[in-house]
Amino acid sequence: MTAPTAPTTSTTPTTWVGRSRPAVEGGEIVTGDLVYVTDRRVPGMLYGHVLRSAVPHARIDVLDTADALALQGVACVLTAADVPVNALGPRDVDGPVLADGVVRQVGEAIALVAARDARTAERAAALVRLELTPLPVVDGPEAAAAAEAPALHPDGNVSGRIAFASGDVGPALDAAHLVLRRQVRTPAQEHVAIETPGGVAEADDDGVTIWCGSQNPGLHQRKVARALDVDPAAVRMVAGPVGGAFGSRNDDPVPVYLALLARATGRPVHLHLTREDVMAAGAKRHPFVTDIEIGFDEAGTILGSRVRAVADTGPVITSGPNVMKTSAEMSTGPYRFDVASFDGTVYYTNNANAGAFRGYGVPQVAFAVENAMTEAAHRLGIDPVEIRLRNALDGGDRHSLYRHATTRSLAVRETLRTAAAHPLWADRARWQAGASGPWRRGTGVATAMKGVGMGSGTGDTARARLRIDAQGHVTIWAGPNHTGQSIQTTYGQVAADALGLPIEQVEVRVGDTGEVPESGPTAASRSTYAGGNAVRAVCAELLGRCERLSLPLATDAPGAGTKLVDLGEAEMVAEFRLPDTEDIGLVPPEQLATFAPHRVYGTCTQVVRVEVNVHTGELRVPELLCVLDCGTPINPGATIGQAEGGILQGLGLAVMEDHQVVGGVPRTTSLENYLAPTIADTPAMTTLFVPGSEASGPFGAKGMSEVVVVPTPPAVTAAVLDAVGVLPRRLPVTPERLLDLLDETDHGPREASCD
């Protein structure tokens, strides 16, 4: 186990992997010198504005831009008819760039305006004449599934379904000593990246360049090319620096808006969405209703589980079915048992569009699984850590749903044991006894695992390009992109150690499709693992060339560089294809990518202390322990920083965050009424690493930035159970909900104590 490391000193170490290294762009951040994409100011640039729907579902009868165009200072007003290919993806369900004949969501983009200043653009948008006929609103999955529901797409309102069974669960449940049948609900969650989407685009005869944040610059390059009906080579995405992402920059259409406006006007265009724009139109974490039936024997051994989930993806597909694919895989938690099934359905509705969000379908089903583990321990009189240890999936074990082989580095058991040995867990009885007044104290534990990369059968690949110059300086262009984790700092550490060069001699560049070879998204906890391996591979290529030519790179980099430049061998590209699972188990080979089971997983156990005020339902979280299984932490300080940020997002989901939509109309419209954790809500956090090394990872590393979000909500509800005897099943656990649960316990039947 490694404690958080002290800040680095000015001494120059000989190796960098495993050493905390401040972000390479940190100096520019703290002086304000770093120019974010929305800070870009170009002479003569126009300002863009997006006209959006204020209603959830309506037919567009009249869309007349004449008055808007007539306003002095307006350069263009674009509607669906002006978009060469009005599509955000290859399928109808990807949705249009601009609403065409119908709007299906509050916030849907209807028209784009560019004008000499922001105020003029906004005034012009208000002059667009829009006449709408309201249509019936599909206000949730239940309404979407109803026989008389209006079809939001030609093929109906089912966006996707994934079902799998490892066998017949019924007999296992029949034989069980304890069967829990429970339904849990998790809300839509807003990313709240502090920079709202925006940037600048410039177009000329050769093509268009867009400076706009993206977690997947290559995908956005293709989206822009499709909408503009141009060759992707004519589109350059410069996807940073960006002020946070967390999933929100996977599906974001703003690069397309920027490119259209620049193309239409022939001038640079700046666009920066308001927070209200993003709250209405930005993709959320999918709200889920998850049903679990799970059976245990008297010793707490899981005998089988059946999980059904329903998700609301809003009017367009974005990541919906892929999110549910990840839910399916993680519906058996980090546990080993004999028989399991999953059946998940994603529906189209007129609610807020949902898409990728850190954790990607896992927090929702993990809440059902972990709450059930907590309740089973409570009912069977087994310690909550012990019941998890009795069922833990060990490295190399077969996955409980798909029966595929998992990585040997999996360390669920070690994270549980480390957490249990920590004073936060070990001293919980004494801490609980120290409660006073209306405040009751409790401690909860939960554990989780999450796959690294896009999964088996998907061909998931990252690439890196390297050039050495005559001074012996190495430049590496690599992906996935940086969206806040300073992944280029990590890549630099990998490269310096792989090459045996001083880290100052290695520069890493990310995020620009004009320079970086296609490397896929900053998603699925894959950046360190996939990008780090690609960097390592390209470094190996350089070392191979040096060895072949007997060039001593480490001792004479300028000499080696000079020779390679002379020979025309100074530049090289390498790729890393993420390995599939060694044995795909029950998954039909032709459907491998449909279920995409992972080979590599990271795991995380958390212990949370809560205090509950029994008079008001208020809940405080003073302390939290996070134990991580991420293989080698390449930059431990950065890894812990990622963990802390992820924990706070999990805590927000647990106790306050809830993007509310009623009848298709959002009620949480800004940061005034959507709450996210501030420093006042933040517990004292400790993050520990369990020792381990992933054989297929760069220097033993594997991903961790999503799994840290997952255990926090069920650990909080477990702590609430410990404190006041009720186990909340609906997130977030607001004071009102908690007070209702406490009232039910006071007056209701025994069964209510676990609702």
Binding site: I29, T31, E195, P241, G244, G484, G641, I679
Partner: protein, 160 residues
């Protein structure tokens, strides 16, 4: 207006109705102050006005014509280089978009309280949203800076 210690030429009346944030970013060319919500909730546009941390999206230029305004670009010359360095060394920055506002809140605190305790730092930062970090390192960095400033002589330019 004195902006980062420099007396500005008279600001024409037609700019008095601008938000201070827009004046800083689009007129003065200081893009360190960021916009995250436009309603004073996220704190990423926080600057110091006469030593007080305020959200510049809620202030009009006409309100600060006689004020001392300090942005992140002016922190080093105002003796807060140690604070900036501590944020980097503590790995307290991730995407960094909230950091200018966070630093201005911390600097305003250190100017009035050279040795704040944890609770004081947390109070000073309760208007600054950060979505990447867990805030803890902000507190550590402020303590580091306070320590460094005491060593160097608080309030001087020695640590700039």
């Amino acid at each position: 207006m004195r902006l980062n210690g420099t007396e500005m030429a008279a600001i024409p009346a037609e700019l008095h109705g601008l938000r201070l944030l827009d004046y800083l970013r689009d007129v003065a060319g200081l893009t360190g102050a960021k916009e995250g919500c436009g309603m004073g909730e996220c704190g990423s546009c926080t600057v110091a006005v006469d030593g007080r941390a305020v959200t510049s999206c809620l202030v009009l230029v006409g309100q600060v014509l006689d004020a001392d305004v300090r942005t992140v670009e002016g922190l080093a010359t105002a003796g807060h280089g140690a604070l900036q360095a501590a944020f980097v060394e503590r790995q307290a920055v991730q995407c960094g978009y909230c950091i200018p506002g966070v630093l201005n809140s911390c600097a305003a605190l250190l100017d009035r309280d050279p040795d704040p305790d944890d609770a004081a730092v947390r109070r000073a930062l309760d208007g600054n949203l950060c979505r990447c970090t867990g805030y803890q390192r902000f507190v550590d960095a402020v303590h580091d800076a306070a320590c460094a400033r005491r060593g160097a002589g608080a309030g001087t330019e020695a640590d700039a």
